[in-house]
Symmetry: C2
């Protein structure tokens, strides 16, 4: 590979000093438009790309942001990653991946390691790390900016979230409209804010339909397929059976479908099932799953844009909200 053009080559070609080139490349003010154009042309002609390490060393920022995650769902993380990369591409930032443990000790250890090695300019936290108090305290202490996806507890700083209670409520409304009254709910993992919000939406959905809340119809799960299987067995041992089961995510809903099939129930005639998130599995199950679409990629993109903006110009408030969509498929229908 022919050695790349350097800033001084561009400066020479444009007949200016390297500092002026630097100004243009960094979109700093105080450059005459005419000069700017000349520099831009020279840069393009030489196919000049600033050397990240040199910028980083001289400017003491790394142009890295890190995504700290601990989430069993590959689809969720890949969605977020795609969005983060979309936003990074626009601003010449790079993404560092940082899988982390949940236990405070090793979580903090891996974050310290990350800070030492990658020296990111900012972090993005995914649930449930988004609400890990030790982590938030550490980052605050380090004075490193971070952005949070779907945080349970509000704080100053950058965040993005769906209106999860409302989405869950709409799911219940959908079931009620089909004629269901005996609607069960499988709660998600307690560490995730989403579990509480979805339960909350479930309850308010029932309340709005004038259906009494029945604790026997609410079972604790953990967002995993296996936890859905266990919860489904418990719910399908009830007498009378619920006519619908609303699982707090798609994986648990898959567990419900599994048990329902094992027991020979016809879906959705004998039992309606719905999930949450709209992961690819929702389309691939039989019957295909009614669920709430969570726009993970968009969330990743928005929260990253907001973080990068924040890095330039910190403002205390920037909580973004994204829209969800109810995806009605084959797993919900009128009760027999």
């Amino acid at each position: 590979m022919a050695s790349r053009a350097r800033i001084e080559d561009v400066a020479a070609a444009a007949g200016v000093s390297i500092k002026t080139v630097s100004r243009v490349m960094n979109r700093e003010p105080n450059v005459r438009p005419e000069t700017r154009d000349r520099v831009m042309q020279a840069a393009e002609a030489l196919r000049y790309t600033p050397h990240v390490s040199a910028r980083s060393l001289a400017g003491s920022r790394s142009f890295n942001i890190a995504l700290v995650y601990n989430n069993p769902s590959d689809n969720y993380i890949m969605g977020v990653i795609s969005g983060v990369l979309d936003a990074c591409a626009c601003e010449q930032y790079h993404l560092m991946l940082s899988p982390a443990a949940l236990e405070p000790e090793s979580l903090l250890a891996s974050v310290d390691e990350l800070m030492a090695r990658s020296r990111p300019d900012g972090l993005i936290l995914t649930p449930p790390l988004t609400d890990a108090p030790e982590l938030l305290d550490r980052l605050t202490g380090l004075e490193i900016p971070f952005a949070r996806i779907s945080p349970k507890q509000a704080r100053d700083g950058v965040s993005v979230a769906m209106d999860e209670p409302r989405a869950a409520e709409q799911m219940v409304e959908h079931l009620v409209a089909l004629g269901h009254r005996r609607i069960a709910h499988i709660v998600g993992h307690p560490a995730h804010g989403a579990s509480g919000w979805r339960l909350e939406g479930y309850r308010s959905g029932l309340a709005r339909a004038g259906i009494r809340f029945d604790p026997a119809l609410v079972v604790q799960g953990a967002f995993s397929f296996e936890s859905g299987v266990i919860a489904a067995k418990q719910l399908l041992d009830l007498d009378p059976l619920p006519t619908a089961i609303f699982a707090a995510n798609d994986d648990m809903a898959a567990g419900v479908l599994y048990v329902a099939h094992e027991r020979g129930l016809r879906l959705p005639q004998d039992l309606s099932v719905c999930g949450f998130d709209d992961t690819p599995i929702a389309r691939q199950l039989f019957p295909s799953l009614t669920t709430i679409h969570q726009p993970t990629r968009e969330m990743g993109r928005i929260v990253t844009q907001a973080l990068l903006t924040y890095l330039r110009d910190p403002r205390p408030e920037s909580a973004y909200r994204v829209a969800h969509t109810l995806m009605v498929r084959q797993s919900t229908g009128r009760p027999a």
Copy 2:
């Protein structure tokens, strides 16, 4: 954050020159063990971590490797990523993600962009990019080292793969042992080497069992759920029906299950179905899917270790092989 220790701090603490510290940190020879120990202790005491940008600028390597991917399966990519990160962590390398298009023009454009911005020291290619001729030619021209996961066509350089034909053959053996003779196959996407290997294994499995190859039982798919649905409909319109369908991946097998359920077939009594890859969906479908486990994380780890080794000491040959596992679950059984 208190400013981090620099190499000169370590040098001062250990009573040596910064060059000696540099030698120790880079595991270069020509340092007395005693001196080395002293430096190591000082480094540890000061919690010294070399500044990546400074190393990169001075040493003209980036300590980045890039993963170039274009693969619809989140699980596959996340598996590989996890393995790559495992290997990177050991050697202080960083991973840059580079989603790419399949069309040669934009593929090359995004790779050029990657090279300009991240200046990776090496690349890792996933299928089907692993076999994109334009890409391989470009990288060879640039003289940038790359490693290939599951390459279709052998070349010099680093690679890792499973024995896919043998795995597919074993799957057929499993079906034959259950008593199946009329075994259909859904072929994967033509751009992937895996499609050919799995078809090859299917054919040799039949041959070894003395079963005549019947072209009517082989249908083209594309590795997607939808393509599996279409192929399944075609196969299940046959008369007589096949007693088993071997899909070249799990997503297509999910499509087969879907159609089988729609048609009221009992599984596995009326039809055995099996897939390939052992993605999470294999456990979550009903009935759970017999499949071949592909160790994506291990593949990512091995190919990265090999690439990093190659960067230090290029050798023409380093093709690694990983083991697969037949996962027998509920979707295969004796034909009625």
